[in-house]
Amino acid sequence: MTDLLTVRDLHTTFHTRAGDVPAVNGVSFTMREGETLGIVGESGSGKSVTALSIMRLLPTPPAEITGQEVLFAGQDLLEMSQDQLRALRGNKMAMIFQDPMTSLNPVFKVGFQIAESVRMHMNLGPRDSWNRAVEMLDKVGIPNAARRANDYPHEFSGGMRQRVMIAIALSCNPSLLIADEPTTALDVTIQAQILELMRALSKEFQTAVMLITHDLGVIAGMAQQVLVMYAGRLVEATDTRTLFAKPAHPYTQALLHSIPRMDDAQNERLQPITGQPPDLLKMPVGCSFAPRCPKAQARCQRETPPLVEVGAGQRAACFFPY
């Protein structure tokens, strides 16, 4: 497998009246073709901003995206003009979002919203692009696709809308699909359907998936590689089995222990992480997890630990891993 996406030292800063918010702070990773990469983190950890920065979908200003490079299929996205980017977006790299209720334009038919993308990137006529839209709807499991293509988003349930979003995203056979919390707004049984669908389709279309979620369970079931983010930084990056079997970073460890699990001994006391995630406006010097870290030492409060190899294929940003 070859590298599809290489991100090197990505920084995204929001310039607000209250001050500069370093939402993404030096993130580097690589994604291979066809692979599913999970990014996990709490709200405000910068996982969504990372994805939006790669797509360059953030309004600038207030956002400012800098970095060494973001190579996608050999091209540096950071160097591209908006026109070049537009040719890629929706075509070679597509994205689906958290809230299917608001992510579709309420005033256009879903068929139109799929066909629009197809028509633009695949140079198809109106009829062909519409047929492609119907085909995609059928593929994502919407019954009576030909008829439903003429319906408006509000006539679909949340799960169905997320299917439509997936249809839009996959309509041009992208090599990268970024899914930003695709199931957070859905009920558990619907979440299972959507995840199942994504698994099947990414296999069928040979699409690499960047799956952003706060749910470690979803990561465990979907991803081959995992990135753990905390306060804008990457704190751990490894393959999924290693992460759950042998987490290196104290944050990852704490996270795994703080959530109630279906498979643990029932009523075992949870081990919460003390304190709150840091305010990005007032980032502590040193390791940003240090104030909450049970293992923190003086050095952690002084220096920011770099993301380094701590084991085979396992990188962590901690002076005292494991």
Binding site: E42, S157, V188, A192, G217, I219, A220, Q276, P277
Partner: protein
């Protein structure tokens, strides 16, 4: 924790709360010329909660679990059935008497941001119930507020701060302190941690557990998160489209679910264990949750029910609404063909 004994003892005590055939219908009214049906949000719900016990109420969005919680507190008009609290049916009480009764059962809300009045300080928020029920003079109330703050683990310098200065987890603690102010015996917690970050959820869950122990509270813990419910509840009721489909001890439910819906629900939860996930057998339900305005006939679950499909879609599921019946001791299920 000595779970078994706890269950055994609580069974011998009287029920603190006994909900009998509770119905809440929302009329769909339009203008002068519109006729409306009714949304059967809660359609004949029965359960009991014993003193000091946590009953988990799980279900997907729109199944009526929050409505049930609110109906118990008489925050919304009850269409039918009884809510017997401490031996008294409170659905028949006057509004004034209901207000008095509410001192004994309190609620914790889902949204830590909208559940606190942004223009009130923490002291005013926590003090409001005390003032309402005239629990002492100013000094006593102030003393009690400080006590409550420490109970929920907030520093005393929070007193004169406003909600917007707190994080979600801290606000939930303020909400808890307010709910505890009147020393209630029942706390209805409506998705109390679902709006919180995962790393903070555990803090609030632990706090709730500690408070229960310390104050002998009973919880009705409403949530869509089965892991959380499993963790905190002694007994769990599963709701689907306004009805309870299964109710039993937590351990029993997760180990041996009888209702096909419960089974599907449990199998849909992703586990944070890649090895397990890779081998797990999943029941993926077909279709969407039907609308509570026009629920399916007979058993509400039958159009999506894998068991009904496996049995060749028996007529009975379509015709007859299954009642909640005891399958084993303390394990009730509403299914014509429960799985053994």
């Amino acid at each position: 924790m000595a779970d078994e004994t706890m269950l055994a003892t609580s069974m011998t005590t009287d029920a603190l709360l006994d909900v009998q055939d509770l119905k809440v219908y929302f009329p769909m009214t339009g203008g002068l010329l519109q006729r409306g049906g009714a949304v059967r949000a809660v359609d004949g719900v029965n359960f009991t909660i014993r003193r000091g016990e946590t009953l988990g109420l799980v279900g997907e969005s729109g199944c009526g679990k929050s409505t049930t919680g609110r109906a118990i507190l008489q925050l919304i008009p009850v269409t039918g059935g009884k809510v017997i609290f401490n031996g008294m049916d409170i659905t028949k009480l006057s509004p004034k008497a209901v207000r008095q009764k509410r001192a004994e059962m309190q609620m914790v809300f889902q949204d830590p941001f909208s559940s606190l009045d942004p223009r009130y300080t923490v002291a005013q928020i926590i003090g409001e119930p005390l003032v309402n029920f005239k629990r002492g003079n100013n000094r006593e109330i102030d003393q009690r507020i400080r006590e409550l703050l420490s109970t929920v683990g907030l520093p005393t310098n929070s007193l004169n701060r406003y909600p917007h200065e707190f994080s979600g987890g801290q606000r939930q603690r303020v909400g808890l302190a307010r709910a505890l102010a009147l020393n209630p015996s029942l706390l209805i917690a409506d998705e109390p941690v679902s709006a919180l970050d995962v790393s903070v959820q555990a803090q609030v869950l632990n706090l709730m557990e500690d408070l229960q122990q310390k104050l002998g509270l009973a919880y009705l813990f409403i949530s869509h998160n089965l892991s959380v419910v499993r963790h905190i509840s002694q007994r769990v009721a599963v709701m689907y489209l306004g009805r309870i489909v299964e109710i039993t001890a937590s351990r029993q439910l997760y180990a041996q679910p009888l209702h096909p819906y419960t089974k599907a629900l449990l199998s849909a939860i992703p586990m944070p264990d890649p090895v397990l996930e890779a081998t797990r057998q999943r029941i993926v339900l077909a279709g969407d949750l039907p609308s509570p305005v026009a629920p399916p006939s007979g058993c509400h679950f039958h159009p999506r029910c894998p068991r009904a499909q496996a049995l060749g879609n028996p007529e009975r599921c379509r015709q007859e609404s299954p009642t909640l019946t005891m399958a084993t001791l303390d394990h009730a299920v509403a299914c014509h063909f429960p799985e053994a």
